[in-house]
């Protein structure tokens, strides 16, 4: 076997992955799905949502920011254990009460990863009390509106939506529970329809919504109507 192949187990299953790959992707390559919100293909991981937390040799690590290294040879990774799944469900519940997630009136409903994750964990009601924070909507740019009520602060838009010079359209403002997502109005003034669509598709929730485009996919045909989140990756 070539030198850069590392052997380890996830929930007892033998896995092989290339050195340097992140553990989230390595699991996927081996047919194992680890829940995610902030992970984005071909973009440097941020480790901001923590829902991909696994145990590597007994220690909690975010799978997306854990690289496969030589030290991982023979490592024991735990993924779908009752403890980790309970903790992930709790993250979903916390996200639901922390913002304002009105699924019935959200354009992203059915295609939303937060909602899909709640379905995965059969969340009937969050165990925490609702916060109902006051958050502003920014609808002042021509192509998209930004609904901060729904933002889960995953940073995907900041990391992925950039112009030719590499400047981000989005940025965070303030800190802690005052943290807000903002859009650069100058850049956004000339945003193309394609980029607006990519931004909307990149956002895991309905915080970035294209203007002049409503609910165009009927219930039953949306991404997570029939199949749980994760199925789409494992089929590929």
């Amino acid at each position: 076997m070539s030198d850069n192949k590392i052997n380890f187990t996830i929930d007892g299953k033998q896995c092989i992955a290339e050195e340097g790959m992140d553990l989230w992707k390595a699991a996927m390559v081996n047919g194992i799905f680890i829940p995610y919100f902030c992970h984005l293909k071909d973009v440097i991981p941020a480790g901001s949502c923590r829902i991909c937390t696994v145990k590597v040799n007994g220690r909690c690590m975010a799978a997306c920011t854990t690289p496969i290294t030589k030290d991982m040879n023979g490592a024991v990774v735990e993924n779908e254990t009752p403890q980790l799944e309970e903790m992930r469900k709790m993250i979903v519940e916390l996200l639901f009460v922390e913002g304002n997630h009105f699924c019935p009136s959200c354009e992203k409903s059915g295609n939303c990863e937060l909602q899909a994750m709640a379905y995965r964990y059969k969340m009937m009601v969050p165990q925490f009390s609702y916060n109902f924070p006051l958050r502003k909507v920014d609808a002042s740019t021509p192509k998209i509106y930004l609904d901060r009520n729904r933002c889960i602060q995953c940073k995907k838009c900041i990391r992925a939506i950039k112009d030719e010079q590499g400047r981000s359209y989005f940025a965070f403002y303030k800190r802690g529970n005052k943290l807000e997502i903002h859009i650069d109005h100058e850049l956004a003034a000339n945003m193309s329809n394609e980029l607006a669509q990519t931004a909307m598709d990149t956002c895991p929730v309905g915080a970035i919504i294209r203007k002049e485009k409503g609910f165009d996919t009927p219930i039953g045909k949306r991404k997570f109507d029939k199949e749980p989140i994760g199925t789409e990756f494992l089929k590929k």
């Binding site: 019935p104 009601v125 219930i219 749980p228």
Partner: protein, 183 residues
Amino acid sequence: MSKAIVATASLAGCFGCHMSILDIDDKILQLIELVEFNKSPIDDIKEFTKMCDVGLIEGGCCNSENIENLINFRKNCKILISVGECAIMGGLPALRNGIPIKECLDEAYLGGPTTGICNPDKIMPNDEELPMILDKVYPCHEIVKIDYFLPGCPPRAELIWEALTALLTGKEMNLPYEVIKFD
């Protein structure tokens, strides 16, 4: 076996969940074999006449009457179920939760685009018969203890049916993935 007694109420809801209860097609005949309705808009019984086994609550609490009603249900039902998004988290009425109540009322009765025509005298509803509006819309389980939750807007008829029959017959619930939805 004696029939289980069911009561239902619509608090700050749109009656969509009640429509969904009725949307079980011919199973409604089986339901009638299984249960007897007490206080409910379905049979228009206005007051509890006996202790009920199951209470189905649609809608959250947006005014003082909703609260009284919900507390009354808790007292008269052995098992209380929040049915639908509004009962579970306030739902669409709770979109007002971030906005001060005065601003909401001003917009609805004084400043809104149609209020000039409909309310030329600028009257704010103030009859003492009217229930007091609350500072925000509350999920039912933040007011009384709720035993079970059935999400959806409205919950799929299949979900309500499965949950009710599982509860009343003791059989296990068989819930396919498509049945638990928040919209």
